[in-house]
């Protein structure tokens, strides 16, 4: 081959490669531009919508007054409870099964003995009534809430804060943390509003299908509006987390800050990839050492363990009316069903203890008061339906695809059901002001570690409000 031929060939190649390079970079730049444009067009809020959940047809006008409410009990109620407790037909647990087959019947007998002979429901009702309770009708339902103001308003900024519970909890979960929040924290104190999700406790249950977390969010936003708050903070865990997240997505201008203890990312490919790489090269994907300690072994902790613990979720998300029937008629059955969660979800290792470790972090009185709220209001079935309403339409949920842009504070407790590192949380919560690795605590942190949780909420609010 002659030299000039060679040169001509290489020049042609050079221009060809130049052309190819220009083309690819054009496509790349175009792609990036398109992505950027598309991203900024991504929805930042979800539609507010509307609903009506009462019996029959919606009336022309609705009573929007706020009425005071007092929890009451009666001798009949207590006698009926005791009669049912006495009628319980226990089944002996398998030898050596502890809490691995569910709530151990031998230990259950001890709990029931306390309930029958020592527990004083009248005293507990008085304790529940220490804070002012109210009811107001929204979208056809009587919505129950407590409202606790700080003891004095002088020399401090009073910040409104709504706390939303989950399942199988109630507003009562927050009774230990409320006094810590209404205290003066260097000039900041909270005015706490604690509603019951419709279908739970003293809030009326919806009569129509379709009542999901978005509907609950809208009702709670209406509640805050009715109470005269234009801006406020939110805190939630379990279903409370889903509801408060929806509230922040519906009216971000009203939500000054969102504080969560349980939160889910928007699953995407990047997340799955980081899961694989993160075990060996955590810093490459943004995991801290603590993240690694909590996530891995992934299959064991997040897949097998989840399968072992989500039977209740599966049945409640498909057949709540069936699952709720028996537990609504057997207080012991109801207690076993609810308290099993207060055992496993506080620490999974408690499943290997004969007493489920139940009284390590909670008193029987506190646990039973929560159970009594479900029992006396017959609300277990309606509380279970919330699962079906929320999981029924997973594919079409707009709120799952929408991000959260209000200042967010995340408190990651070590024994929470699933650990989500900050990098994963950022796929959904785009404005994270604080992410705290908590030293102890499980799924019911307000109940279990009120001081830790209160401290984190305070530091978050101070950060957001620049106080």
């Amino acid at each position: 081959m002659s030299l000039d031929k060679l040169l001509r060939l290489s020049t042609a190649n050079f221009s060809a490669s130049l052309a190819l390079l220009s083309l690819t970079s054009a496509v790349a730049i175009g792609g990036i531009l398109a992505y950027w444009v598309f991203r900024s067009k991504e929805a930042k809020t979800i539609p507010i919508g509307h609903g009506w959940w009462g019996k029959g047809k919606k009336p022309l006008s609705e009573d929007d007054q706020i009425h005071t409410f007092t929890i009451t009990t009666s001798d009949e109620e207590i006698k009926d409870l005791h009669a049912r407790l006495d009628l319980t037909r226990y089944t002996d647990p398998l030898e050596d099964s502890h809490f691995n087959f569910g709530f151990n019947s031998t230990y259950l007998k001890r709990v029931v003995s306390h309930w029958r002979n020592v527990y004083d429901w009248k005293k507990q009702v008085a304790a529940l009534n220490q804070y002012p309770h109210f009811k107001t009708k929204i979208e056809g339902l009587d919505v129950h809430f407590i409202r606790v103001c700080p003891p004095s308003r002088e020399n401090q900024k009073v910040v409104p804060l709504m706390l939303v519970h989950g399942w199988p909890g109630s507003f009562y979960e927050f009774y230990k943390i409320i006094p810590l929040l209404t205290q003066n924290h260097d000039g900041v104190a909270f005015e706490v509003i604690c509603p019951s999700i419709p279908g739970y406790g003293y809030s009326e249950a919806p009569q129509k299908k379709g009542f999901d977390s978005v509907a609950a969010a809208r009702i709670f936003l209406t509640l805050m509006e009715r109470l005269g708050f234009s801006q406020f903070y939110l805190h939630g865990g379990d279903w409370g987390s889903a509801i408060t997240t929806n509230m922040a997505q519906m009216k971000p201008d009203c939500v000054k800050g969102l504080h969560l203890t349980m939160f889910f990312p928007r699953r995407n490919f990047k997340m799955s990839l980081s899961l694989v790489i993160g075990r060996y090269l955590p810093f490459l994907v943004g995991f801290t050492r603590e993240d690694v300690r909590r996530i891995y072994p992934y299959f064991q902790k997040n897949v097998w363990q989840m399968l072992e613990e989500t039977g209740y979720m599966h049945i409640q998300a498909t057949k709540p009316d069936t699952a709720g029937c028996a537990v609504n008629n057997s207080p012991v059955g109801l207690a076993a069903y609810i308290l099993e969660k207060f055992s496993s979800w506080t620490d999974m290792k408690y499943r290997d203890l004969s007493d489920g470790g139940l009284e390590r972090m909670f008193t029987l009185d506190d646990l039973l008061t929560n159970v009594m709220i479900y029992w006396t209001t017959s609300s277990m079935t309606s509380s279970m339906r919330f699962y079906k309403e929320n999981f029924g339409n997973l594919i079409n949920r707009l709120d799952f695809k929408t991000g959260v842009f209000v200042p967010t504070g995340l408190a990651a407790f070590p024994n929470e059901l699933m650990h989500n590192p900050k990098v994963w949380a950022q796929t959904k919560y785009r404005n994270i002001y604080s992410y705290t690795f908590m030293p102890r605590g499980g799924h019911f942190p307000a109940f279990e570690e009120p001081q830790l949780l209160a401290d984190d909420i305070v530091q978050f609010v101070k950060k957001v409000g620049k106080i």
Binding site: I315, K319, C325, S330
Partner: protein, 480 residues
Amino acid sequence: MLTLDTVFSFPPPPPPPPPTVSLVFVIMFTEVLVALALGGLLLFIFQRNRKQVLKTEDGWWGPGAPPDAQEDVSIHPFQIKTSAEELQDLYRRIDQTRPVLSLEDSQFNYGFNSQYLQEVVSYWRNDFDWKRQVEKLNQYQHFKTNIEGIDIHFLHVKPKRVPKETEVVPIIMVHGWPGSFYEFYGLIPLLCDPSERDNLVFEVICPSIPGYGFSEAPHKKGFDSVCAARIFHKLMKRLGFQQFYAHGGDWGWLVTTNMAQLEPKIVKGLHVNFAPPSKPGLSMVLSLLLGNRFPKLFGFNGVDIQRLYPCMEKQVVEPIKETGYMHIQATKPDTVGRALNDSPVGLAAYILEKFSTWTCNDFRNLEDGGLTRKFSLDDLLTNVMIYWTSGCITSSMRFYKENFAKGLYQPHSKMPVYVPTGFACFPKELMHTPKLWVKQKYHQLKSYTTMARGGHFAAMEEPQLMAEDIRTFTKMIEEK
């Protein structure tokens, strides 16, 4: 100067080596290869034909340690009893029920409809005659015998009349969850009485799985379907049967399959109406992916196509909708059983929901769940009463955890079945298994019948059809 031919020129070829040495090597090499191949093939064929037998160890399920004394092998007659106290207690609990209204327009889609449940309960409280049903239950002879530390309950029904030249064929029939031995009460007379079509009468043994009904529940962990199968083999031996047939649906399917795997020489024939694949193999996956386009390749007929597709809806979404009970029972049986053992109405809702949905899943859209279309309330409530009066709901649920706890790849799920098998394919069964899939496990599938009607509780719903199929299958095996 470089020219094309100078660039692209080959060196001259080397002279060929002498033929002798290399040829010998080649022949030797080929021989070894062929020998290996043949040997491998023989080994493969031999391995396939060698019938694998399921192994099992003895067990002890009574409380505490097994006693040193000799096992009590006596068989005691047993009568189901009731009392005024039992009924009074039941009625008090029914009257105490706190109903919760179902959502407007939800029918049976959220579970057992509360409004219809009130109707069922009203019948139960005012019209259902448990004393009369107990007499009906006692029309057949019941017995109990202690095996591996627990009392096993069973029915033993001998044919009343054996015409000349009629063979008496022993058959064991095993129920499932949430059924009981009572499911077979409509089927038993059709098998025990002589038929015009053939010269067979059956001698029926109908046990209760330990932990169900009147069979004592195991006190120790680990009681799975293989243990139940082993105990039932001991039962049949104790009754003096050298060979017998077996029939089962739901858990009964698995227990009788295990029986066939444990002692293939003793189980003459296996008849099942439910056979979910225990080990999804390559052929099953391929057939699902391509069966829609190439049905003939996999032996799929119109019924198969209609019941398997669309894949996502029928193989994924439907099972998820209907397996919540299985999930919770396989993980927390003691928790979920607690309330069910205190509230008869709750128990009835839990059990009867299955008799509605598993008979036809379209019944979910009916206000009354279509419950009385195929069953009478008396029959349905008798089954519920067996669970109620024996207090066995929790132990019945533990069977799920014990069977799923060791994972899906147990020895018995990997092992095929070599006993002649008959499969009755009912149109509304929970899971449809085409012939190809059944054959993966049951290597001696002798009959596969597509039934005209019926769902999961086929023996109770369509006893005539079931009896016909059992008879046809048995006759086929007996004639060989």
